[in-house]
C-alpha cells in the first residue's frame, strides 16, 4: 500500500471521489493541503476573491449538475466567510462539502491565530460536520462527507482539518473506502406501499386536484416521472420557486408557480382544490401564507424524503416518506393498472374554472412607451435564448421577475437562493455553472444592490475566462425593500436608496470585461442581441428600468392563498 501524508491523502481522496473542481482560497492552516494540490493536476482549483463566493460557486455547480460541490478554505476568517454560503445551501438542500483548515490540534482552545470553532459555528447550518482527529482517518472522513452530503435530503457537510493532520513528513497507508458504515443514518429508499396505494385512490377520486411540486423533484431527479404522471392524469400542476423547471413551463397543464408572488391561477387553484399532491415541497411560509387559512377544502398527500418536512407547518392526510422518483414511479404503475380513472366531467369543469382564472390575470403588466419595464427585459431574454439559458439570480424584485417571466422547460436551469434569500449569490453561482457548461448561455440576472455584494468576483471571471452575461436590472434602489416600504410603511424609503452607484460600465472595464449600458427602450432588443452575440466575453449589461415598478401578484400578508394584490390598486 502507498504511504501518503495527510494532505496528499486528502487530495487523493478528492480524486478518488471523482471531484473535478474545487473552489477556494488559501491561508496558513490550509497550506499543506494547497501544496498537495500544487503537486497534481487532476483536481482543479478555482481561486475566488472572497470565500463566500467559493461556496456559491460550488452551489451553482451542484444545482446545475446535481453533483456535490467542493470548497477549500483556511481556518478562522476563511472558514467564517463561508457561513452565508453554507446556510444558503442548507436552506435549499444543496449537496456540498466544505473543507476548512484549522489550527493545529495542540492549539485548539487557546485562541490561537486564526482559530475559530468552525464545528460550533457551522452546526446550525449544516447537514453534518466532521472533524479529522487522526491523519489516517482522512479517506474515510472524506467518503463519509460526500455520502452524507449527497444522499437522503442533500445538504452541506463541513470537514474541519487541523493543520497537524496534514503534516507533509508524516505518512500513512492510503486506501479509499468504497462504502461507508453509518449505523444511524439510513435514508429511505422507497415509500410505504400501503400509503402509496391510498394516495393513488385519493388522487383518482379527486374532483379539483392540484399537483404542487417543489425543489425536491429537481434534487431527486424525478422530473420525468412527475411529468409523465401529471400528463397521464391530466391534472393542473403548480411548482414552487425552487421547483421551477421540474415540469415544462410552456405546457398547458402548468399553472406557473405559487405563493407570495405566484400566479393568480396557481394560488386560486390551490385555495379551491379538494386534493393537493405535494411532491418534494415543504409548505414554506412564502408558499402557504397564513397556514390556518391554507386551502380549507383540500386533503393533502405529501411525498418527501425528509420525514421532518411532513406535517411541519401544514398537516398531511397521507404522508409518504421516500425518494420522490421511486414513489412517483410506483404511483405511475398503480395509476396505469387501476380500473378507476380520473373523473372526466369533474376535471373538465375544474379546468374551465382554472382557464377563467388564467384569463383574468395571466401575468400582465403595464408597458410604457419610453420606460423599460423589468418584466419585458426578462421576456426578451427568454425569447432571445429560446428559454434554454442557465439563469442564476440574486435576491429581490429582479429575482421574482426572472422567475415569473423566463419560461423554463427543463430542470436545473433556474438557480436562485430561495430559502435563505442571499444577495450576492447570483454572480458566483453563474460562474460555477459556466465553468462546467462553457457552451451554454449563462445569465446572471441581478440588481444594482445584490451585484455589489460579490462584485469582486469579476476578477475571478477574468482569471478563468468565464463569459457569463450579467443582466443588471438597475432601478437605482433596493427594489423589494422599497416595494414593502411603499405598501406597508407609507412610502418611507428608509435606507432603500443607493445614492452613490458606481459607473458599472467603467467598473466592468476596469476588471477587463465589457460593459454595456441600456437606457432607451428602443435600444433594448438590438443591444441585448449584440450582448448575446459576444460569446467569449463577460458582458455587464446595466439596464435602467422603471424605478417604480412593483412585483405582482403579491399575496396579502396573513391572508389565505387567494388573497392577492394584482397591481398597485387591484386587490382580490
Amino acid at each position: 500500500m502507498e504511504l501518503l501524508s495527510g494532505a496528499d491523502m486528502l487530495i487523493r481522496s478528492l480524486q478518488d471521489e471523482g471531484i473535478e473542481y474545487i473552489y477556494g482560497y488559501p491561508g496558513g492552516a490550509a497550506l499543506h493541503i494547497y501544496d498537495a494540490l500544487f503537486r497534481q493536476d487532476k483536481v482543479k482549483h478555482i481561486l475566488v476573491r472572497h470565500e463566500q463566493a467559493a461556496v456559491h460557486m460550488a452551489d451553482g455547480y451542484a444545482r446545475a449538475t446535481g453533483k456535490p460541490g467542493t470548497v477549500l478554505v483556511t481556518s478562522g476568517p476563511g472558514a467564517t466567510n463561508t457561513i452565508t454560503g453554507i446556510a444558503t445551501a442548507f436552506m435549499d438542500s444543496i449537496p456540498m462539502v466544505v473543507l476548512c483548515g484549522q489550527v493545529a490540534s495542540h492549539l485548539i482552545g487557546e485562541d490561537a491565530f486564526q482559530e475559530t470553532d468552525m464545528i460550533g459555528v457551522s452546526r446550525p447550518v449544516v447537514k453534518h460536520n466532521l472533524s479529522v482527529r487522526h491523519p489516517e482517518e482522512i479517506p474515510e472522513v472524506i467518503r463519509k462527507a460526500y455520502y452524507i452530503a449527497a444522499t437522503g435530503r442533500p445538504g452541506p457537510v463541513v470537514v474541519d482539518i487541523p493543520k497537524d493532520m496534514t503534516t507533509p513528513n508524516e505518512r500513512y497507508e492510503y486506501s479509499y473506502p468504497k462504502k461507508v458504515k453509518l449505523r444511524s443514518y439510513n435514508p429511505a429508499i422507497r415509500g410505504h406501499a400501503g400509503q402509496i396505494k391510498k394516495a393513488v385512490d385519493m388522487l383518482l377520486a379527486a374532483k379539483r386536484p392540484v399537483i404542487y411540486a417543489g425543489g425536491g423533484v429537481i434534487l431527486g431527479k424525478a422530473s420525468n416521472q412527475l411529468t409523465e404522471l401529471t400528463r397521464m392524469l391530466g391534472y393542473p400542476l403548480t411548482n414552487t420557486l425552487m421547483g421551477i423547471g421540474c415540469y415544462p413551463a410552456s405546457d398547458k397543464q402548468h399553472l406557473g408557480w405559487l405563493g407570495m408572488h405566484g400566479t393568480y391561477e396557481a394560488n386560486m387553484a390551490m385555495h379551491h382544490s379538494d386534493l393537493i399532491l405535494a411532491v418534494g415541497a415543504r409548505f414554506d411560509d412564502r408558499v402557504t401564507n397564513a397556514t390556518e387559512k391554507f386551502c380549507p377544502g383540500a386533503r393533502i398527500i405529501h411525498i418527501d424524503i425528509d420525514p421532518a418536512s411532513i406535517s411541519k407547518t401544514v398537516e398531511a392526510d397521507v404522508p409518504i416518506v421516500g425518494p420522490v422518483d421511486a414513489v412517483l414511479k410506483e404511483m405511475l404503475a398503480l395509476v396505469k393498472e387501476s380500473k378507476d380513472k380520473p373523473d372526466a366531467s369533474a376535471l373538465a369543469s375544474w379546468w374551465k374554472q382554472i382557464e377563467e382564472w388564467r384569463a383574468f390575470h395571466g401575468m400582465r403588466y403595464e408597458t410604457s412607451p419610453d420606460v423599460i419595464k423589468p418584466q419585458e427585459v426578462i421576456e426578451l431574454l427568454c425569447k432571445l435564448t429560446n428559454g434554454e439559458a442557465f439563469v442564476t439570480s440574486d435576491v429581490g424584485q429582479h429575482q421574482m421577475f426572472a422567475a415569473q417571466y423566463y419560461k423554463f422547460d427543463k430542470p436545473n436551469r433556474w438557480i436562485n437562493s430561495g430559502g435563505l434569500g442571499t444577495m450576492g449569490f447570483g454572480l458566483p453561482a453563474a460562474m460555477g455553472v459556466k465553468l462546467t457548461h462553457p457552451d451554454d448561455e449563462v445569465l446572471c440576472i441581478t440588481g444594482e444592490g445584490s451585484i455589489q455584494m460579490n462584485i469582486q468576483e469579476l476578477s475571478t471571471c477574468k482569471q478563468y475566462n468565464l463569459p457569463v452575461k450579467i443582466i443588471n436590472l438597475n432601478n437605482q434602489a433596493l427594489g423589494m425593500v422599497k416595494q414593502w416600504q411603499d405598501m406597508n410603511y407609507e412610502s418611507r424609503h428608509s435606507q432603500s436608496y443607493m445614492e452613490s452607484l458606481p459607473d458599472f460600465i467603467a467598473l466592468a472595464e476596469a476588471y477587463g470585461h465589457v460593459g454595456v449600458r441600456i437606457e432607451k427602450k428602443e435600444d433594448l432588443e438590438t443591444k441585448l442581441k449584440e450582448v448575446l452575440a459576444m460569446k467569449d466575453k463577460l458582458v455587464f449589461v446595466d439596464i435602467y428600468v422603471d424605478r417604480f415598478e412593483h412585483v405582482y401578484p403579491m399575496q396579502v400578508a396573513r391572508g389565505s392563498m387567494k388573497d392577492m394584490w394584482l397591481s398597485k390598486t387591484e386587490r382580490v
Binding site: I148, L182, S184, A308, K312
Partner: protein
C-alpha cells in the same frame, strides 16, 4: 404536555452539543437533560424532558432522528415507564428541627448521607413530583442547597431501547 424522550447517541465528541443546539435553534424547551455512557462504550444514553403540543413533540422526535449521531430514540411517555431523579438537599437542622426532618426523610424514603451539628444532607430518589413534594414538606426556609440530576427513564416490561 410533558414528555420524556430517551435517546441512544453515538458516544462521540460534539454529539451532545448537536442535540442541545437543535433544541435552542428550533425554539424547543429542555426542562431536564441527563447523559452518560452505556454498557456499550460506543453509545451514550440521553434523556431529555420537554413540553410541547403533540405537533411540537412530533417535530422534536423527527428532528432528533435526523441528527447523524442519533442512533435510536423513544418517547417514553407514549407507554408505561419508570422515571427516576436523584436529589441531594442540604437542610438547616438544629434543635427540634432535627427530629422532624429525620421523620420527613423517612416518610419519603430518603437517606441522610451527611451530618454536621447544624446541617443534614439528604439524598432522595424518585420521580420529579416526589422530589418537589419533599421540598414542599420540609419548607423552603430550611433549604440551603438543592442539586438534582434531572430525569432518567426506562420503559416498563419487555420493551428495550437498544441497537
Amino acid at each position: 404536555m410533558r414528555r420524556i424522550i430517551s435517546v441512544l447517541l453515538e458516544n462521540e465528541p460534539g454529539a451532545l452539543s448537536r442535540v442541545v443546539g437543535l433544541f435552542s435553534q428550533r425554539n424547543y424547551n429542555i426542562e431536564t437533560l441527563t447523559v452518560a455512557p452505556t454498557e456499550d462504550e460506543t453509545l451514550s444514553r440521553l434523556t431529555v424532558t420537554t413540553t410541547g403540543s403533540d405537533k411540537v413533540i412530533e417535530q422534536i422526535t423527527k428532528q432528533l432522528n435526523k441528527l447523524i449521531e442519533v442512533v435510536k430514540l423513544v418517547d417514553l411517555t407514549e407507554g408505561s415507564h419508570i422515571e427516576r431523579e436523584l436529589m441531594l438537599v442540604k437542610l438547616k437542622a438544629t434543635g427540634s428541627q432535627r427530629a422532624e426532618i429525620k421523620r420527613t426523610v423517612d416518610i419519603f424514603r430518603g437517606q441522610i448521607v451527611d451530618v454536621t451539628s447544624s446541617v443534614y444532607t439528604v439524598q432522595l430518589a424518585g420521580d420529579s413530583e416526589k422530589l418537589d413534594g419533599f421540598i414542599q414538606a420540609v419548607g423552603t426556609a430550611g433549604v440551603l442547597e438543592v442539586v438534582r440530576t434531572g430525569v432518567s427513564g426506562i420503559a416498563r416490561g419487555e420493551k428495550v431501547l437498544s441497537l
